[in-house]
Amino acid sequence: MAVIEVNHLIRDFKIGGGGGGSLRLLHRLLGRSKTLKRVVDDISFTIEEGDFVGYLGPNGAGKSTTIKMLSGVLVPTAGIVRVLGLEPFRHRKANAGSIGVVFGQRTQLWWDLPLRDSFKLLGAVYRVEPERLQRNIALFTELLDMGGFLDTPVRQLSLGQRMRGDIAASLLHDPKILFLDEPTIGLDIVAKENIQQFLKQINREKKVTVILTTHNLDDIERLCKRVIFIDKGRVLFDGSAEGMTERFGGQRYLVLDTEHFDERTWDGPPIARREDNQLWFSIHDDKEIASMVAAASERVAVHNLTVKEPRIEDIIKQLYALGEA
């Protein structure tokens, strides 16, 4: 069942423009000289129940704007968004009850109060029955290892602790869909792994559909069954994480550290890339490796030999570059 449908979604923002200095202030006062910037430009996708989707793209690609339209904060300029069959901004309250949202860089916890108090207040806001709330608090406290700081005021928590608190807080009302906007930003490896483990678990066991934006590549590798990559408001790639690897970086390379390499006289296997004395050869079939090494060592001195597996990082870089072009 599709829980999210996005169809030809467009969102424009007014950007204050005009000249510099005091003239600009005048323009702003008069509300003139505003230009339209298309932040989301004809995006379409469908997300099925239980999916775990990485929504990726460089800064300013339109990720957060899309999330805000899915959560009912922003109204689309054009196109259709449906979450669980409803248009979020028209049925804002109904939608709010069935989604959880974590804006990674902004907490929704009460700064001066213990974490536990925030959970209880949110329970009241979302009208969660007391027993269910207790059960969820207990469960998340165990899974996210929050027992040690449940009664500490939020302002005294470390970033990793606070983030765990925020993620738990967004799930107290058992939402069907969880939106996470950069939940692992700035976290140490322990906190990150704890959170990744937790997200995996609630996705699997509670069947929560998760949509996550991130710049953390291991989030993608460990969590995302599917990746939607956008840039400049457009979808560049939509498919499985493996599919992305195959399509954009499926290439494995034989990398040789050499000496006395001369481009002009080279008549060995075709070189895919060269970094100083390091030569990269594309591997199409493992059987080629031996003959390539042999051919190369006949011509130059080979000091070292490695086979580079495709890395998601390189793929992302490649995709970023694609967006630039």
């Binding site: 922003l74 901004f89 902004r106 001066d112 109060l113 207040l121 009241a124 806001v125 979302y126």
Partner: protein, 266 residues
């Protein structure tokens, strides 16, 4: 409605617990706000020692009007001073948070915190009222009930006017200046009855920025032996109507502002 009340009380209990984390701040500001309110009364007292009757008003009457305003103002500060933070909350994206929760955003916004410093104004207001009330006219249960209505209307009027200005933050991200302007006006023109000012000021403060309905006009209800107010004696009873009208307008404009913030139809 009942559910909202319950949530509101729980949120405010939490707020108080949070405030109590900074007890020194709390006490000092409370005392200084109450003291500030009192100084206005003392100033009036000093003035009336030299000039016993100002534009037909004596010390007790002036203190009564001034304190009536301050009492309403105290409720405004306590329950809706939050409006001052709107521009900041819009800029910081805190409004987004309210929009992803299943509650009315305006309710969430104002419930986010009560401003206990308003207690200082309430304290100064009630002090002045108690001091002046016995000297200005006869009191009975009816008048006391009317006083409650007047105080609440006054608070609603200030809330509505401030909200109308504050909401501009949804479009411009800046509303502090406008609100500061109104705040200065309120502070200046709540010190003396409207009668002491010239016609243009009276017109503006009655029909453009109707802050005179917070205390000046309704104060005639409680004062014996006064001549009628400027314009019409009907205005004496108009406060609740003015409050209702402005409240409706404020909510309407808030909705418009929130729509603009979300980008509906723009």
């Amino acid at each position: 409605m009942f559910a909202h009340m319950k949530i509101y009380l729980r949120l405010q209990a939490a707020n108080l617990r949070a405030r109590a984390m900074y007890p020194l701040n709390f006490t000092l500001i409370l005392v200084s706000v109450a003291f500030f309110g009192m100084t206005n009364i003392i100033l009036t007292w000093v003035l009336t020692q030299k000039v016993p009757i100002i534009a037909g008003w004596n010390l007790y009457q002036i203190v009564f009007v001034m304190s009536l305003w301050r009492f309403s103002h105290g409720f405004f500060i306590t329950f809706s001073q939050q409006i001052w933070n709107l521009e900041y909350l819009v800029r910081e994206g805190v409004m987004d948070r309210f929009l992803v929760r299943p509650l009315n955003p305006m309710f969430q916004f104002f419930a986010m915190r009560i401003q206990i410093y308003g207690f200082g104004d309430l304290l100064a207001g009630i002090g002045g009222l108690v001091y002046a009330a016995p000297h200005i006219g006869h009191w009975n249960v009816q008048k006391l009930l009317l006083l409650v209505v007047v105080v609440l209307s006054g608070a609603v009027i200030e809330w509505a006017l401030m909200t109308l200005l504050g909401v501009s933050a949804f479009w411009t991200l800046q509303s502090g200046g406008l609100m500061g302007l109104l705040d200065t006006l309120l502070d200046q023109f709540s010190r003396f009855p409207l009668s002491v000012y010239g016609r243009p000021v009276q017109i503006v403060l009655s029909f453009v920025l109707p802050i005179s309905f917070m205390a000046f006009y309704p104060s005639y209800i409680f004062m014996d032996g006064m001549e009628g107010p400027p314009f019409s004696s009907v205005l004496v009873y108009a406060s609740p109507a003015v409050a209702a009208g402005l409240a409706w307008l404020a909510y309407y404009v808030w909705r418009k502002g929130l729509n603009a913030y979300q980008g509906a139809g723009s």
